[in-house]
Amino acid sequence: MNGKEKILIVDDERIVRESLLHWFEEDGYDVEAAEDGEIALKMFDKSKYDLLLVDMKMPGISGLELLKKVKEIDKETIVILITAFASVPSAITALKDGAYDYVTKPVDPDELAHLVKKALEQKALKHENIQLKENIEEIIKPDNFIGESQQMKKIFELIHTVATTDTTVMIRGESGTGKELVAKAIHINSKRKYFPIIPVNCGAITETLLESELFGHEKGAFTGAQFKRRGKFEMADGGTIFLDEIGSISPKMQIELLRVIETKQFSRVGGNQLINSDFRVIIATNEPLEDLVKQGKFREDLYYRLNVFSIVVPPLRERRADIPILAYYFLNKFATAMNKPVKSISKEAMDFLTNYDWPGNVRELENAIERAVVIGKENSIHVKDLPFHVSANNIINENGEKSLASMECKYILQVLNENNWNISRSANILEIDRVTLYNKINKYGLRNKN
């Protein structure tokens, strides 16, 4: 009745074939007919049919044999068998082999029409159900976690491998490479996906606060603790806890963390009651923990406890093939959100984007495109719309060095100097937290000469 579904009638009797074909055509179906099983299989090979109406008894390939072969090719195809004589054993065999139903000739028109309609409606619902499930999977994919480069394909494979296990995962990569997105991807593809993933940025919180954040606290545990509060480990029960910038936690917290990860038990700050929580641990770091272990800044036992399965997220400059895809993804995202008619990126701007080293990685690219969409006056993004081309090129030209560390050091120093070494403002511009900025200042030995 909808003119869309395709039906194949297979019957060796011409008058049966033709009358059914004609009868179904009036209902608006797209109907074809075959005089035997072999022809039907050839037709089935070339074209897709939603429903087959098959005579049980035919010379050559029988209706039951045709049913089996059709189901081997496409198990979703509906097959209704028709026979002149009702036979219980053959009906049972047909249904066991995947026939939707079994009718005897002559069949009541009302019965046949409703049987076909019901079968096709069920198939459509099943198809719709699958599509909806796929759409849900699509929706819960982390935002901007995209890439078609070999490196990203490898990452997707690793995520797929580890997601189904409960293994602790260590994600390594520079700032802005998307470590949290990898963690989310692991979580949403795991059996824990219906429980929360709780992210904690260990580098952004002081030791005392981190303890309270992770374990929670009882009322009155410390000044300002006016209410009892659940900690992140407790919130992550059934789900995943994502500990970002793990390298920045204090030795005391390292001991606490090791104990909690091993026992899955802890007490709230100021409390005695032991709390059990079933969580998976995913950690991320942008600095080599091995070096911190050698320097005695990170516990070796915790390192081995955490370094079970490692995923290294490559910096954007090592997967330049993904830059155009990401750039257009962000362009569409921001142009839609801001309702701006920006639709393309000029060749020169794209050349610049793909050649630039992106010390801030995907996050920096996202911000650059957002800014370009904001200030762009035309339908296309041009080099002049990009926020950093002058300063970035200057850094490269002045030094002739292209190492990330060198560029990062110079860029941080430039931002600090431009902002009179105001740490908060500089950290804000660099889009990193203050602790990370302090770490980087120490790492590169930067000093305020004024």
Binding site: M1, G3, D11, E13, I15, V16, E18, S19, L20, H22, W23, E25, E26, D27, G28, I82, K105, P106, V107, D108, P109, D110, L112, A113, H114
Partner: protein, 177 residues
């Protein structure tokens, strides 16, 4: 375009007159009654004691293909197509010939009670339906439309007795009520 009605084994002349009158009220075209000696034996199934509608149509086509306009066979015979227990009628999609059986439109067939007006209403619905197929229409989803599929007598009674606004556009010479 004329509408030509050919009765086959139809003894109820009063009903035939009423049908011809109603059709002439609904169509701008001329409605003619034509006598034709259609071969019925070859369409009869001894086993089923029914007439194969496609065969009856084929037999009529041989005799009436030169007649202008639509040709409607009207019969009291119980019609069937192989694989189905019965059909109320059959038509050439985008063609000129159609056939309607009154056999299962009689209320007597179901309740033993005779009802001339009900029979006339059912017959007109099925005639308009088959003529609709002649004009290329397929089954309509609108229950108020006469082109809605009717696979049982209940469905014949439920559906409307006119073409819907969409379907009527395809019917040449139909007076919109």
């Amino acid at each position: 375009m004329d509408i030509n009605v050919i009765p086959i084994h139809l003894s109820n002349s009063g009903l035939l007159d009423d049908i011809l009158f109603e059709l002439s009220q609904r169509f701008n075209s001329r409605v003619n009654l034509i006598e034709l000696d259609v071969n019925i034996e070859s369409a009869f199934s001894i086993e089923r004691k029914q007439f194969f509608s496609t065969q009856l149509l084929s037999n009529a086509i041989i005799l009436s293909d030169n007649i202008n306009g639509k040709i409607l066979l009207l019969t009291e015979f119980d019609l069937y197509v192989p694989a189905l227990t019965f059909v109320f009628g059959e038509a050439q999609l985008n063609g000129k010939h159609s056939i309607v059986s009154l056999c299962r439109l009689h209320e007597e067939f179901y309740s033993g009670r005779s009802d001339h007006n009900l029979l006339l209403e059912r017959a007109l619905k099925e005639i308009l339906h088959e003529i609709g197929h002649n004009f290329g229409l397929k089954h309509c989803l609108n229950w108020d439309c006469v082109m809605h599929a009717s696979l049982s007598i209940e469905e014949v009674d439920i559906k409307g007795n006119q073409y819907c606004k969409t379907c009527v556009a395809s019917i040449e010479g139909y007076k919109i009520f």
